[in-house]
Symmetry: C3
Subunit: 428 residues, 3 copies
């Protein structure tokens, strides 16, 4: 056992050095890091935990002044010191700001020096690059709207990624369709013009260096192709389509988009299973929930229909974790990706990771992505994952004699970096 702990430490030491590729984040290219402690504590993980623990929603609102919001938030978070989310805050404070939280954690009485440290660091030139180096992260994927400008993105650090949700889910609304028309300079009246408009969007993204299209699908989603005639009829109305047509449209548009992704060589990142706005009283970004009891089989038409397209697939509900693993094991074009949101908890990650390593080709696993909104969270989130990876590789791979330490490290490099680089065709 001592031997095993030593092994785990040696593996972790090496794994900590691998410069990871972070294939999904919400980092804004123009404001990639925190300007103040509030920017860190405003992360929905903290506001939602504080609210869950009893802090009134109003005092957590973004426009509430720091003097009120921060102490209230920290008092709420006192109940959450055992959570992994709080541990991210502890780790980033120490590793990125040299700020060791005292025994009682960050409190209403001691937050100011950390706030000072964050502000000071934010003022340093090259802070984004510095943060990524400290975090051992090589590239961070962004989440970009189809109609936002893509210039001015530092492509040494960031990789644009088209977020397709509004294209897939809102085209029944005339306003959304008009926005697509403006973005593509194409009048969307039928299946063909829709395809052309979406292709124009993808072209713009590819020119800007985008390497993937990302979409979040709700539980129960069924991907079903629409015939050209059906698509035409959904779209030609001009102003509003019927409710029935609106219901069928997302599945149809998704398949059109998948066809284009296949043509453009853009892997599709599918995040499956969030019920949006399920919790009415939640804080901003804290209203969505996972749903147990669902199945990925509604997506089979997508995976079967586009054998030339790679789908990087994440699930939200632990009850689908094995289903995802089996899909990665069997389907040549499905890549289990990361540990998303409600499944991003060590107790789940450890078992999910072990099962993936035990049954899926290692070239088909994207180990982790941060889903972060500010670069500071890359270090503790990937840090959590690196430690679990070292432990699982020690206990489930090297110890039972499946391979050597060097083999284990080769797998770690695939999961953290090389698979993403290959799948998304990142140069360099």
């Amino acid at each position: 056992m001592t031997r095993c702990l030593d092994l785990e430490s040696r593996l972790l030491h090496e794994i900590a050095q691998v410069k990871a590729i972070d294939v999904h984040s919400h980092v804004p290219a123009q404001e990639p890091f925190a300007r103040s402690l509030r920017d860190l504590l405003g992360y929905h993980y903290y506001t939602e935990l504080a609210h869950s623990a009893g802090t009134p929603k109003e005092v957590l609102a973004p426009d509430e002044p720091d003097e009120q919001a921060i102490p209230a938030l920290l008092r709420g978070l006192e109940a959450a010191h055992s959570t992994v989310q709080y541990s991210w805050l502890v780790e980033l404070s120490r590793e990125l700001f040299g700020f060791s939280l005292p025994a009682g954690g960050l409190t209403a009485g001691n937050w100011r020096p950390l706030d000072e440290a964050v502000r000071k660091a934010a003022a340093r030139p090259g802070r984004a690059r510095e943060l990524m180096e400290l975090s051992r992260i090589k590239k961070v994927f962004l989440t970009n709207s189809f109609d936002e400008p893509l210039d001015g993105i530092d492509r040494q650090l960031f990789v644009p990624s088209l977020r397709a949700d509004p294209l897939v889910f809102t085209l029944a609304d005339v306003e959304a369709r008009e926005a697509l028309e403006r973005a593509s300079s194409i009048c969307v009246r039928d299946g063909k013009s829709l395809r052309d408009a979406l292709a124009a969007v993808l072209e713009r993204f590819v020119r800007a260096g985008a390497c993937s299209v990302a979409i979040s699908l709700p539980p129960g989603f069924h991907a079903a192709a629409l015939s050209d005639q059906e698509l035409n009829s959904c779209l030609k109305g001009g102003r509003r389509t019927s409710a029935r047509q609106a219901g069928a449209l997302p599945g149809g548009v998704l398949l059109v988009l998948a066809g284009l992704c296949q043509d453009f060589g853009l892997p599709m990142q599918v995040m499956y299973g969030a019920i949006r706005n399920a919790y009415e009283h939640g804080v901003l970004q804290g209203r969505d929930l996972p749903q147990a009891g669902d199945t990925l089989s509604g997506l089979l038409p997508l995976f079967n229909g586009f054998p030339g397209l790679t789908f990087c697939l994440s699930v939200l509900s632990e009850s689908q974790a094995q289903e995802l693993t089996s899909y990665g094991w069997m389907l040549h074009n499905v890549v289990p990706s990361g540990h998303w949101w409600y499944a991003n908890v060590p107790a789940y990650i450890e078992r999910d990771l072990a099962a993936r390593l035990q049954s899926v080709p290692a070239t088909k696993l994207i180990g982790y992505y941060s889903d972060m909104y500010k670069l500071e969270f890359g270090l503790p989130k990937f840090g959590m994952y690196r430690r679990i990876l070292a432990r699982v590789l020690a206990e489930e791979f090297v110890e039972p004699g499946f391979g050597s330490e060097e083999d284990a490290l080769a797998i770690a490099r695939l999961l953290l970096r090389d698979n993403a680089a290959r799948i998304f065709r990142l140069g360099d």
Copy 2:
């Protein structure tokens, strides 16, 4: 690792001292402990395991004499020595009756001395209090019918709790409605009088010291409010409502009851997911089953509709364990509670507990309840939980540096005692 085992032992030593609050049991206030070995072996966990292992149901029936039933039961249980349920029997025999089971366990040939010991102990004055002290349990919640007398309950030991199932599920039957009318002295003809009758019941319970309302909901239950008009139409018939109305009534009554619980400040304990009488051939109380593949989302109208009411929520199916954890993490008024029935197995408890600690504010976790029918089971059931809690806190909290031993013990006290005391407003 040695260090970790020592740590675990130290934590367990302290955790074993915490006087727990047991928020759900079926202990009868007037017969709270076993009068004989049969009272212990009659626990459905033993009759169902013996029956599952091949013992004919008839010989396990409550009215079968000890001389036949006990040897048959013990022969059946020989196949169940690896089960955690059997370990409870071993532990309580040793700790409460000083009776160390021999290597082969309790058998048809050696049960009489233990029976003697149980009978002798039962005759001691103050046995209930003695058992609770030996078990380090401070208060035990009861399960009380809306129309049972509530006087004569020893309120130093016990906390009454209204079991709402018959109110919610059978009011379409005129007999049930008449029973409610008798209990409340209110004639139930419409939504308003129903509300008044339920309020009268709650008032009586609150006066008797009740601190919660408990209900068990089947898989697929949808909580949906009925309008006053619909409620009136369900109830005014006098004798029998239509099948359709009867089907909608439980959801409607539950929401009415939740509104009253909110007004009365009585948290609602919801146990979700048992299919009743699924196994036709089962022994008494041994016919229910969990159902995989279900979701809690049908309860969202309940949680969203009563933001001022705390719901202590348990699930039966492991496929919903993460969903429950996520609800506790996100919803300010949902408290994941205990490890219920088919999920009350160490392999599940350990992972569920780790995930809850890693993502839910510790003030929002009710660690454990016994669900017992006799006080003797409090010690081994809570004992099992205390050991798992010590291990999880050692391995997942102290060892990774999330907090100190003292912090871990503070969390243990929240889970075993303080959260229940605060949520159910137990005076001292």
Copy 3:
């Protein structure tokens, strides 16, 4: 901890000696072992992993020559060295052919000596018996079609087992019905003649030494009896029944078959949950998937309807693992059996096994079956299971004081051998 590892080693040493009964395989009685390396690498686990990792399906086809297929397959498998399936190949090469794979594993450059060794071993007389002795497997159940010849089976090694899928699922097709008529010499026109024909098939199987009937049921399957009138109407049409009738027929036929199994004393092995041909692009035998979110409750009419029949039940989706355990715990005639296919991964086996031992009578667990197509896989598959069994018994049974090492070994013998021998009434 050292003590625990020693304990685990001692247990494993003994467990490795237990001659197991393998209650489900696809081994062909006339060609039970590999004649060449290709016969081993042709196992769908390897072709599907290679295909999943990017090897074109065409080069993996059975009729592709070794010179092309083997190097391509091995290149594909390089990505799968961390999988448990690959570890089976490593272990059988070493233990059955004395062939230690070099550090880089089996490659396009070094496979010939192993191929030679397989061919040479295959030529040895008594190879099947030798393999089973090396594998510590006493009997291997076969999978036999209702109309295949059953003579010439070595009944010292093999146990025939009727595969009922075509009988249950295709009788709406006239060709299938005619095949049953030929096999039974009974003209199938109504419920009664169907019963007679199925009885004739079972009689033939029993005479040939069959000890079980096996069937695989898809997700969502509902077992529902048909009245004789409905059954007659489904069958009397002669040529084709209506679609609606065809849909109801499988449930009805299954219940008829279960009744006969009960009469004949033939336990039914039910493997629940594979979606067949879900993945269109898969290799041969590599197109099926598990489905999360399903429930076993659709089978309750089967379990309730035939209390005198033992059902050995396996599930495919991990989201049903606890449901299966609970069914085994509660229903006297349900025996949780093995760890099937997509659930046959150490990360899942370990937890599923622990939960079964902690809640199901040990006499009601069939520990493992191989599902293999060639005898060579019995050793590494059972080897994997024996190691997990030793670990779980050490950590979850002996260490916590639930029983002695000898008790643990008694449980191991039940799971590997004695339960199967008793349930299937194997002589000797």
